[in-house]
Symmetry: D2
Subunit: 302 residues, 4 copies
């Protein structure tokens, strides 16, 4: 049985690591701040003192940290995973980071005789807690086959998708997910702003639209949030801002024009400027409401 190293025990990482313990895996855990490690040790994990210390004891190393520089630090920084990683291991980066950086890191892992998979997730805190995450995987299919049982402890088995063999394919897919959501979110927000400003009940509009080509999970779920002004996250705006920044970087790096997404990103900046960083990202609608001269104030998130 694989010995799992787990680096990054935040809001997402902690419940994910617990699922691995619950399924009987040995988990060697590390986190920058110590209390999260202690908590996991109390639940049965082995505590580690550094990423290097994790890699020394594990055959599969999972990283779940906030952003590109964090993954870089954990893998190739001082006392990083690569300083001790044995050959024949698998590194699974489940963070959402730059696909360009992923490619570079995957190359460095390959030089150590190991494989790296990028495996970002969607589904949020609730998906992490319920082990129902969607997992979008890029990299060597054989490596994925080897660690699939591990991933199935954390995500919905039917929604662990091998996007492509190229390193970074998972990250690209995650970005595509956020881009597709962004377009839908803007469309629904602008539609509701127009309805409200025209004296038409957006709830009726939502009902009318749900049966046709405008139907979407966003209209259903986030549209309902907009109607109820319920912006308790869910998925925080500042995290979505990060994802759209990754999208903008990828678009710039590879030469893709994403004008609608770019506009969504700017509206999100406005949401955050108005104090909405910790609100659910569906609060994007409040920006459009305010631009229309409607009462757009989002309530504070709980």
């Amino acid at each position: 049985m694989e010995r799992i190293g787990f680096i990054g025990l935040g809001v997402m990482g902690k419940p994910m690591a617990r699922h691995l313990l619950a399924k009987g895996y040995t988990v060697v855990a590390y986190n920058r701040s110590r209390p999260a490690v202690d908590e996991l040790v109390a639940a049965g994990a082995i505590g580690a003192s550094s990423p290097a210390d994790v890699a020394r004891q594990a055959t599969v190393v999972i990283t779940m940290v906030p952003d590109t520089p964090d993954v870089e630090a954990v893998l190739v920084g001082d006392n990083g995973v690569l300083s001790t990683l044995g050959p024949g291991s698998v590194v699974i980066d489940m963070s959402s980071i730059s696909p360009v950086a992923t490619k570079r890191l995957a190359g460095l892992v390959a030089e150590k005789g190991s494989a790296m998979l990028d495996a970002p997730v969607s589904g949020g805190e609730i998906g992490a807690i319920n082990a129902t995450l969607s997992i979008m995987v890029g990299g060597d299919p054989a490596a994925l086959a080897r660690v699939r049982p591990v991933l199935e402890c954390m995500g919905n088995p039917e929604r662990i998708v091998h996007v492509g063999p190229e390193p970074g394919a998972g990250q690209i897919c995650k970005i595509c997910n956020q881009v597709a959501i962004g377009g839908a979110l803007a469309g629904v927000s602008e539609a509701f702003a127009l309805a409200r400003k025209s004296g038409v009940d957006p709830a009726r509009v939502r009902d009318a639209l749900l049966g046709g080509f405008a139907a979407s999970r966003v209209l259903e779920v986030h549209g309902e949030r907009m109607l109820k002004r319920n912006y308790v996250p869910g998925f925080r705006s500042r995290l979505y801002q990060k994802d759209l920044r990754l999208a903008a970087e990828a678009a710039g790096a590879s030469g893709v024009a994403m004008p609608a997404t770019a506009v969504v990103g700017q509206m999100l900046n406005a949401l955050i400027a108005s104090g909405g960083a910790e609100l659910d990202y569906s609060a994007l609608a409040t920006v459009l409401f305010e631009l229309a001269g409607l009462d757009g104030d989002a309530p504070p998130a709980a």
Copy 2:
């Protein structure tokens, strides 16, 4: 039983009028060009020589014409419906036109002692042929109750939605529908452009996304069209351009900012500039593909 006047026997109007005949209604039909009238007369309708001639013989007058000036001409132009419309009638405009113009026209109909409903549809040619249209209705609920059986001959009874009592509410709802679709369409197009340019298979991306928050009818239906490069309409780009023009007009008239929709509208202009006016509107993706330096050429529609 109501006597139905039907003005506008185009791609949509003709099958709609036929459904009314099939259900046993008397239909008095008019169209600017004569052959369409003759065809309907052969099917059992009474031919009329002008909109005024229609209104003289009908208790319910349906208009199904291309654009705002056409409805204006038919209702208030020379030999228009309002010149002969008796009191106690109902005018149902099923065209997709300006909500501002609708308000004005509804006022003029009211001065005649009759009611006007705006009842634009979605579902396209196929919906018209199969009598499965969605119908978004604005105006007096009593008038709707009266003509609901008539509408049910042409649309899906469960998807005849009373959006609001204000004249134009149906038109606003139709615009909201197109706006919500536009955002989704742009999101999916930009996502696929990024995937392709990054060497990732957009079909895999679509699969991965369909289970999560990015799921939408657009991702499902139009996303598949993009993958198969099947841009045989469906719904023609030039008609969608018209609808986005109505959206822009409504946004300007009522003071709503729709920046994402505005960007979608400009990409659509580019699609039409490249010869795509008669292609399905999902061909919007080809504009993004070309901007990314990918092979974006849409095949000619059949």
Copy 3:
């Protein structure tokens, strides 16, 4: 000497017509509301009872009215100019209207054996009062040569530009003017928003930028307005909205993508939604300031 018909005695038209009187021209004046006509008659003009009445008495007919339907009404409506216009006349439309409509109207004027020039202006009320307008002329160069002395009474002789022989070329040029201004206005507004939000004095930024490639009349004039929060028009936002609507229509009609202009148009909608319709269009900056969470409130115009 030409006998000048002048239709449309508003904020712009009245001083323009007075300049013609001052240079000794016979002016036959018409306006929808009578007092403006009386005022001009008191200044030496001949009053007319309709556009037809104007055209009957004039060799050159100038129209200066708000929008496309107004020009259409004045020329081809009941008692319109075309009902009495003699052959060998020149119609000069100095309104800012749709280039597509202009083309159509020029054709109708040509059928009467006369010429139509489109000759929209820039320079605003002050330019009209000081006879320093810029005039952008489309149409037959011989007709322009004939009426140039007339135009020189109202505009800066060096800035009466023959844009092209095609009807509508002047209107296109006017739209281009507003589009170029819109881009510059958005650029300066966004730059100032960033500076302010970053704690940097936008006045210093303006100084630094005026010497380089970012230098523009907009940075100079409208940038200063933004710094002083002086939004007394100048050029009113609602008129600029009209011009951007014409731009959007032209873009749609001819198949041109104008994504930056489209975004500017939406920000302008937001300005108007916040009560800024009568403010100078440089108040566009207040929308960006508000989106950045800065104090963006524009003072009421005097």
Copy 4:
């Protein structure tokens, strides 16, 4: 007399350092690749083996390197400037980099008892060669007063502007410059696209516009390039892309919505995707020309 350390002898840095030598300054030079150092040593400079080696021998250290990570590496990396910088020195970063990173680095320099100025430039290669750069300076005014004679060797004395005392104010100003240019560039490009598609000569439009509110250096200089299809840089698109990336980062970091700039950035991505990375950034117009179905192909830069 100050002893000047100069790090970064690229297209810009080399002529700038030569100007300092020409004015009699001692220059200690370092560049990552050695030949550039040798060249400068031949011209009278002292060669250094690392940034630390530079700082050991200089009282004023100038950095002129491509991007944020490069400045970070040079200042705080291994053998970086900060490892040997004496107290009472001045570091002048003339690169165009992130204002957020600048703030952090200025703090680290202050901890060494020295001052850091951010002093990005505009004016390009030609400005560097002719010592006519504009220099936008952020930071301590006393430090600026001290090094002003140094800066005056490289830039136009009248265009060395102290933007503000906060670290990063110069970088913000540089970004504002690029943002203002971007808006103007998009406006002119879209105007020319509309003119061309409408059959109107954009050269005439440019002439007509240069006298009014649409007048700008961009219309004059870059507008002429667009007319002549002369996209030999000038300022390369890929460098402008970098600057707009910095703008997007700053907007995200500080909470500012820049929708027009965001759209410009995406059009620039498209230009680069079509092979235009080394073309002058005025080639942005070719993207709009292509979107309009016009011949938009930019010629290869010399």
